[in-house]
Structure formats: structure tokens, C-alpha cells
Symmetry: C2
Subunit: 382 residues, 2 copies
């Protein structure tokens, strides 16, 4: 489904047009059109099927390109514009490594209460560092791709079965992609703005029953690895500059390598919808750990970044609005009733999820992030 | 350090020669020489800096190439041979996704006893499925690359510090690389032989102190992500055919999708050395889960494989011989004394680890796997 972008957003995508599906190239969203950078600009990186070569050029090239795009949009770029509804959008970049963090205190608390009742919901390590894990890159799909319900092993009463998941969930997340991987590790939080190219929305599909049986002691595996949806549009970090705000106070104060220089929380407001009905509107500025702190943590041990490294926030939940059905339905105990009368604990076959977001600038500006959308298809034969 | 290969092994590597370090290409080890496939054979896949394009051609091409190599080695391939000591070996393939399993019952039992005393060392899920997790691909390095001691957060008594790891360990593992990712998921264990291209040795560097603080509930992260060493030589699966043996009996019988058709345990005997002294000789044929079962599990949920997907066994430990210093020194409580009088709990700066392995064929044949070697360098400044 085409999005419409306002002037000043200028998000990037990789697109092709029917008849030339084998020639994807880089474009920028301008209103309801795509500005074809492969014809507008004289640089072969824009004729590539991924954003990686452009992202690897670094901050100076990103800024210069944005300036050129703004100029072209202002003077009118007729011959370089393709109607969005004629285009096919592809996965925008090759993901190098994918880390999923868990940085909402509200989500961590809710998940602990639901999954480990009777214990302290948030362990002491959680406030000492941004906890995260590596996830699968080969099953990241572009927005709009159907997601098949996974088969797996899980407990049904006392018995373990191998069957389609009965507790299929999805988490609303915000992801950040590293453009410039040339820096020596470790990075400080202050280097975030120079290394990170842009922002995507992410749907982290999660089979709670499969995850529950497999996760101790090595963490989530098949409960997550079957699919992750990423928006086709990558909003450059520069477009979020007006939406930078101070992060919530951290208590206890984190270790020195995690102390932030300048505000790197983002006033991004999500809209999480099931079958066209908004089920929650969590705010990203409530997250306990900022993406700048996550980047510093990721590299503390000497890990060198690469162009295309993706790291996501984990479920965005705030005090009132939850970004997963685990929390929204309290593990199915308190099913949601949709305006059309349908009732949902976890997801049913045919359900379509759509995650959108708007960044609110201090100057009153509004910037749209690319949407992440996916519908659940029935489990495949085993 | 060059290895020497016997006839019939014919392992693959990506190599370059001084003066042409920017032109890596594919070669095969023949005695103490490298047969340059980019000049011997008329296929551009061999002039590439990774094995991926060749691996993606599939089983028929792999077998045909092996036949051509055998013929060339028999008649003498003089002009196509490069002395191994003149060559530089590179990382042999681009790793797509990397999964580390935990498939030695002895290792799982030892680790549980050491890290979670007073609890059941091996949880019930462990015998129901091959437990594993995704690990970082961007820090996989070729054998011979120094490994810097990681910095990280860990507990020192009651206090959390940010400092160089004091419990740096390494695990001896066997890894399998997917060549042909074209099949529809799920795969049965019987498809293992058609999809997997070859075998590598892996050193899974592990900072136990960092890992202990961060791992609950999402699993290992910075305690592992700083480095993984992979052998430069990839032994094709076909070379291991004579070493296939029946796997240990599994109790309880696993779910149907994990039942193996034909023997896929491998009689591979490891030699794990510290500073030139062998510290253990674990046997790979004692592993509870076979690599064929791991591949079936990995794809049960619909995950489609890609060329270059790597999955490793986890620490190879048997009843008497342990493949990690966590176990060898029982978390430092029972330090090892080396023949030269040095004492080790965990690894010291300057220590060099070398993992080698020989596959024992039912026909009496012996086949060498590529060695994985790495020395510990001091922690980097923070």
C-alpha cells in the first residue's frame, strides 16, 4: 500500500517498476511519488539493489544527497519521478547482523509478570545494561510480505506437541541501521549520529508457546526466527533531528560508557493496528535505554560494526499503551474486543498488522516513518 | 601456519599470494600446495573472493569439481599449484546467519553443574530439541587472527565493574556450512547431505564473567560476540562419508521431524591445544544431537536457508575429555598445570589455542579437518 510523504521527510527505498523488476534502484519518497536517484544523480551507488553502497559512503555523502534531493523536489523533478502506486518496494538494505534489544521498562515488567509470576519481574542486570540478543537476518522481509504461522515444539498441558503455534504474537519496534561501519570499537553514545544512517519500523513476530519451551538457558530461537518485517522506507536520522528529546532519568546511573552526551530519546509516537483497528499508541520517548546507548553497549567488547547492521528497540510499551499482544491480552487472559465485535487473544490466520509512526518535532513539525505491515497466513504443512 | 593435506581430503580455501592480496580466489589443498581452481577450471565462481558462488551451485557441481580436482592431482597440475607457505588464507565464505547449538550432553551437564549448582543441570527441553541461539557473523575471523580480550560489565564480588574479562574461555566446536539454500523449509534430516557443503573447525571465544551477568533471560550476547575463529579450510562433506557412524541412542525418542534416516554422527576426533600442549581429545561421535537433526530443527518453523549459513555444534566434550576451560579447570577451581609448569584456570594474554581434528573412516582412512588457531592479545583501551 503506498504511503504519502511530506516535504522534508525524504525517506529512502529500493524500488522497481513492472517490466523491470530485475532492476531495483534507490529512490526517495516525495509526496505520492518516488524520485529515482539512479537517473537524477550521477553516482552508481543509486543504481544498486540495496542501500548498502550508499550508506557506506558516510555522513558527508548522506547530507549532500539530502540537499540535492531537497533542491530537486523544490524545482520540480518531473522526468525522475515514478508514481508510487506503480512501483514495487524491495527490502531496502542487506542486513549484516541483527540485534534485538529489550529496552522498554514497561514491557520488561509486563513480560516478567506474565511469564515468570511470583519472581521479581525485572532482574537487576536489566538496569545495568541494554539487554539484547542476536536474531536471524535471513528471514527479515519487507513490509507487505505474508507471514506464515510457524510450526514448532511447545507444551500443551503436560504434553509436548509439534504443531502450528497457538500463541502467535507480534511486537511493535523501532529499528536503527548502521551506515558507516568504519569506526574503531568501542563507540561512545555521542558517535551515534555519525554512524547510524536511518530508522525503520519493525514487526518482531513471536510464537510465545515455542519461545517458552526453548528459551532457557540460551534465549529465543525458533520462536522468533521464522520472520521479522521491516518497513520498505528508511527515514534518514537527520529527519528526526527536531524530535530529539531528553531520555527518562535512569536509576541507578549507568556505567560511564553508557552515559549519554546530548538527548537521544526520540519523540516518536506509534500506532499499532490489527485489521485496521488501532489497538495501541505507545510512545517511543518513554524507552528506558536510548539507541545511542545501545550502540555503545554493542561495541563495548570490541565488536566492529558493518554497514547494514540493524538493531531494534524491542517492544515499545509505555505505562498505558502496549506494543505486543502478550501484554494487550495479558497472555490471552483478557482478550481484546475489536470495534467490529471480533475477539482476539493472540493472532488468528488472516489477521493483518500495520505499524505506523509519526515523529513530533519541538518546532511543531511532523515526520512520518515508513510503515511495517504483515498478514498472517496459515501454517505450512510439516 | 601451513597445513599439509593427504590425497583424498581436497579441502577448499580462499587464498591470495603476496603482491596480489587484492585478488583472492578459490583453491584446494593438495599436500603442501594449493591447487588454483581459478586457472585450472573454466568457471568464474573460482575467481571470487568467497566460496559462496561455488557453494550455491549445489551438490552436482560440488561432486563434479571434486572429480576434476582428483584427476588434476593425479596427473600432476604443476602450473596451477602454489606453495602453501607463499599463500595468505582468507575467511573462506561470507557467513549468512550463524547459529551456535549446544549438543554435547556432557558439556550441558558440566555447564549446568558449574553455573547453576543445586539445580537439575540439564533441563527437560534439552533432550526434546537441539537447543541453540543466533550469534554474531560480523566478528567471525579466519584462523590465525589474534583475538583481543574483551571488555565488559561483570560482577566482581558484590560490585559490577566495567573491565577486561577475567574469565576468558574458548570452546572447541565443529561447524557446518549450508551450500545449497534453495530448498523449501522444513528440511528432513535426510536432506542434510544434499544441502550442507562442508565442515569447518570453530573456536567459540567466551567471556564467562560477561556472559554470566547478561544472559538472563535472552541468552549470551557480548560474552560471545567479540570474536569467533573459523578454520581457513573447508572440508567437503563428501570427504567425511567414510567417517559416518551411528549416533548415540536418544532417550526419550525425539519427535518425528528429528528422527534420523541413516547415520549422521561423525567419527571426528579433536585435539585441543594450549600453547602447543594438548589439553583434551574429545570425540565428536559422542554428541547427543547430530548436525542433520540440527538442520531439521533450524527449518521446522519455516526458516528458509541461505548459502553461507553456518551452524556449529557447541562445545565438544565427552565423558573424559572436555572442550572448554570452563570444564577443564572447573570454572578455575581446579587449574591445569601444563607440561612446562604453567598453571591455567582461564586464558592468559599471549595464550595460543589450536584446534585440529582427524576423521576416522570405517575403512581405516584418516581425513584432516582444517585447523582453527588463535592467540589472545591484551584488552583494548576503553
Amino acid at each position: 500500500m503506498p504511503q504519502r510523504f511530506d516535504h522534508g521527510e525524504f525517506p529512502y527505498a529500493v524500488f522497481s517498476v513492472p517490466g523491470h523488476l530485475d532492476a531495483p534502484r534507490v529512490g526517495v519518497g516525495v509526496a505520492d511519488q518516488i524520485l529515482d536517484l539512479s537517473t537524477l544523480l550521477d553516482d552508481p551507488v543509486f543504481a544498486q539493489p540495496t542501500l548498502n553502497p550508499f550508506m557506506a559512503q558516510g555522513r558527508t555523502a548522506w547530507t549532500a544527497t539530502r540537499t540535492r534531493v531537497r533542491e530537486a523536489a523544490e524545482v520540480g523533478a518531473g522526468p525522475h519521478l515514478v508514481p508510487m502506486h506503480d512501483a514495487v518496494l524491495h527490502l531496502p538494505f542487506d542486513v549484516a547482523d541483527f540485534v534485538d534489544f529489550n529496552s522498554s521498562l514497561q514491557h520488561a515488567t509486563n513480560a516478567g509478570r506474565i511469564l515468570r509470576p511470583g519472581t521479581e519481574p525485572v532482574r537487576s542486570n536489566w538496569r545495568q545494561m541494554p539487554v539484547g540478543y542476536h536474531a536471524r537476518t535471513g528471514t527479515i522481509v519487507v513490509s507487505g510480505t505474508p507471514v506464515a504461522r510457524p510450526n514448532g515444539q511447545y507444551l500443551q498441558g503436560e504434553a509436548t506437541v509439534v504443531a502450528p503455534s497457538e500463541r502467535l504474537d507480534v511486537e511493535a519496534e523501532v529499528g536503527f541501521v548502521v551506515g558507516d561501519g568504519s569506526a574503531t570499537a568501542p563507540l561512545s553514545p555521542a558517535e551515534f549520529g555519525d554512524r547510524v544512517f536511518g530508522v525503520v519500523l519493525v514487526l518482531d513476530w513471536s510464537a510465545r508457546d515455542i519461545q517458552a519451551l526453548e528459551s532457557v538457558p540460551l534465549g529465543p530461537f525458533l520462536g522468533k526466527s521464522f520472520a521479522t518485517t521491516m518497513s520498505a522506507w528508511v527515514l534518514p536520522l537527520e529527519a528526526l533531528e527536531p524530535a530529539r528529546v531528553a531520555a527518562p532519568v535512569q536509576d541507578p546511573q549507568p556505567a560511564e560508557y553508557l552515559r549519554i552526551a546530548g538527548p537521544w530519546a526520540l519523540d516518536v509516537r506509534l500506532e499499532f493496528a490489527l485489521n485496521g483497528h488501532v489497538v495501541s499508541r505507545p510512545r517511543f520517548d518513554t524507552m528506558y535505554w536510548t539507541p545511542a546507548q545501545q550502540l555503545a553497549h554493542l561495541t563495548l567488547n570490541g565488536t566492529r560494526l558493518r554497514t547494514g547492521d540493524l538493531f531494534a528497540s524491542g517492544t515499545v510499551s509505555d505505562a498505558d499503551e502496549f506494543g505486543s499482544f502478550l501484554e494487550l491480552s495479558w497472555d490471552g487472559e483478557r482478550p481484546l474486543t475489536l470495534p467490529n465485535g471480533e475477539v482476539r487473544g493472540y493472532l488468528a490466520d488472516g489477521d493483518e498488522i500495520c505499524l505506523t509512526a509519526v515523529a513530533h518535532g519541538r518546532d511543531g513539525s511532523r515526520v512520518h516513518l515508513g510503515e511495517a505491515r504483515g498478514a498472517v497466513s496459515p501454517a505450512r504443512p510439516m
